[in-house]
């Protein structure tokens, strides 16, 4: 029994990244490293990056992981979103591409979100656009926040509530 447990522990401890993370990636100890240039030195230093990115696909030819495919998500009503939390999230995740009210450096890759309420889109539609916009437009540049695990279901509900509240 002790051996069995030891075997199980070994199996579980086998780091997933051994098989997944390509050897030409800037990774150390299973975590993302960022190159650091040191003046007047012939060595390139690497320091831990502020966030670990190893779980997503790289450009390495050795990378055998699949891109998560476009996914539909059936949002169940009621929305039950918190628009204040949604606003905070929008300023963190959406502002680079979309213009939000009160922004002085508006991004214009996506459409402006000022007066969004006027469109009267259905909640589940907006939810799907944020969860995975590829369902509507396979060539979209908008990240699939749900499918790629960037935002949780409740966070997307909060964002929908915020967008629907922009007068």
């Amino acid at each position: 029994m002790r051996l069995l447990l030891a075997g199980l522990a070994l199996l579980l401890a086998t780091p997933v990244w051994c098989a997944d993370i390509p050897s030409d990636a800037g990774v150390d100890g299973g975590k993302t490293m960022a190159p650091q240039i040191v003046v007047n030195s012939g060595r390139l230093e690497w320091a831990p990056h502020k966030r670990d990115l190893t779980r997503w696909l790289t450009l390495s030819y050795q990378d055998r992981r699949a891109t998560p495919e476009p996914t539909r998500f059936d949002m169940k009503l009621p929305l039950a979103g918190d628009k204040a939390r949604g606003k905070t999230l929008a300023w963190e995740w959406c502002i680079a591409c979309h213009t939000l009210p009160g922004d002085e450096w508006p991004g214009n890759v996506g459409s402006p979100m000022v007066h969004y309420k006027q469109y009267k889109h259905a909640d589940p539609l907006i939810f799907q656009q944020i969860f995975d916009a590829r369902v509507f437009n396979p060539n979209t540049v908008m990240p699939a926040f749900g499918t790629f695990g960037l935002l949780a279901e409740q966070e997307i509900r909060d964002l929908v509530a915020y967008l629907q509240s922009i007068e």
Binding site: I21, N40, S41, L44, S60, A66, A96, V141, L150
Partner: protein, 291 residues
């Protein structure tokens, strides 16, 4: 009792490796026209960047409007003020001359053909001795190591030598041949990679650099990839001295994509692709970039 678990673990790893080509997404890359409406709105110069024959620094018009072009027109010889890039050129010259006392460093870099002046304009190229297509920085690391000198690809000293070699070729048009052989193969792989989506946001290089040119990502204006290589490595305050492949790593990190190591095959293929798009543009270093 332990063995079955080892077998199982081994099996899981092996099956992960044996899979067919997994699901991938690409920005369309056959016969497309880059979407440049953003640039036309902003500066209206994209078409000139695409064609080096039309290159004219006066296009920037009012010097205060240079930011619209993301500094491309502020590069030397147009920016005469002294910045960190000039110190890097000086250090690169000293290092180069130290290593080249017997002429061995230069002949290693050029693979025994041609003058150091022509190195920048002709790299990346096929190196029979390495058995692969290599960028100038990779070869600087390789030739340094032959003399026991550590010059890691992407390090300050490596890029300093690279920027020095570029500086003695200032004005020469970038000229690499990607029409045949391993260079063509590398170019094609690079073209595909440039359009391959990756990372947490599922972006490709083309998502920004060909399909959203001139648009704003908050404070940043995205520019075309044409002509970029002619002013690399660049001086940037935050990074001191940045090689082209470290710029790739930065764009990867900025878009939440795990970066690769400089000198890796994919980065070299990308370098071949963007260098070919710079063919015809005159080398102009040392250039300075914002922050």
């Amino acid at each position: 009792m332990k063995t079955p678990f080892f077998l199982l673990a081994g099996f899981l790893t092996a099956s992960a490796l044996a899979q067919d080509i997994p699901y991938r997404e690409y920005e369309p890359f056959e016969r497309y026209e880059p979407i440049v409406s953003g640039d036309l709105m902003l500066s209206g110069t994209y078409q000139h960047w695409k064609d080096p024959a039309n290159l004219d620094f006066r296009m920037a018009g009012n010097p205060d409007e240079n930011w619209k072009l993301n500094w491309k027109f502020m590069d030397p010889p147009f920016n005469q003020t002294v910045h960190g890039g000039h110190f890097a050129v000086d250090r690169g010259e000293r290092l180069f001359k130290q290593l080249d006392v017997y002429g061995t460093f230069a002949s290693c870099l050029s693979d025994r053909s041609g003058s150091p002046r022509n190195l920048r304009a002709g790299y990346p190229r096929w190196r029979a001795d390495l058995g692969r297509v290599a960028g100038l920085e990779e070869v600087i690391e390789h030739c340094g190591a032959k003399q026991g000198r550590v010059l890691q690809n992407g390090s300050y000293d490596n890029s300093a030598i690279s920027i020095y070699l570029a500086s003695i070729g200032n004005g020469q048009p970038i000229n690499i041949d990607v029409t045949a052989g391993p260079m063509k193969a590398s170019f094609e792989r690079g073209r595909r990679l440039f359009h391959a989506k990756a990372g947490a946001f599922n972006f490709s290089c083309a998502s920004c650099h060909t399909h959203n040119i001139g648009k704003r990502l908050r404070g940043n204006v995205i520019t075309t990839i044409y002509g970029d290589v002619a002013h690399y490595p660049v001086y940037r305050t935050q990074y001191m001295l940045q090689s082209l492949q470290l710029r790739f790593a930065e764009c990867n990190l900025d878009t939440r994509t795990q970066p690769l190591r400089p000198g890796s095959q994919p980065y070299t293929d990308l370098e071949v692709f963007v260098t070919a798009l710079t063919n015809g543009y005159p080398i102009s270093v040392p250039a300075e970039r914002d922050w």
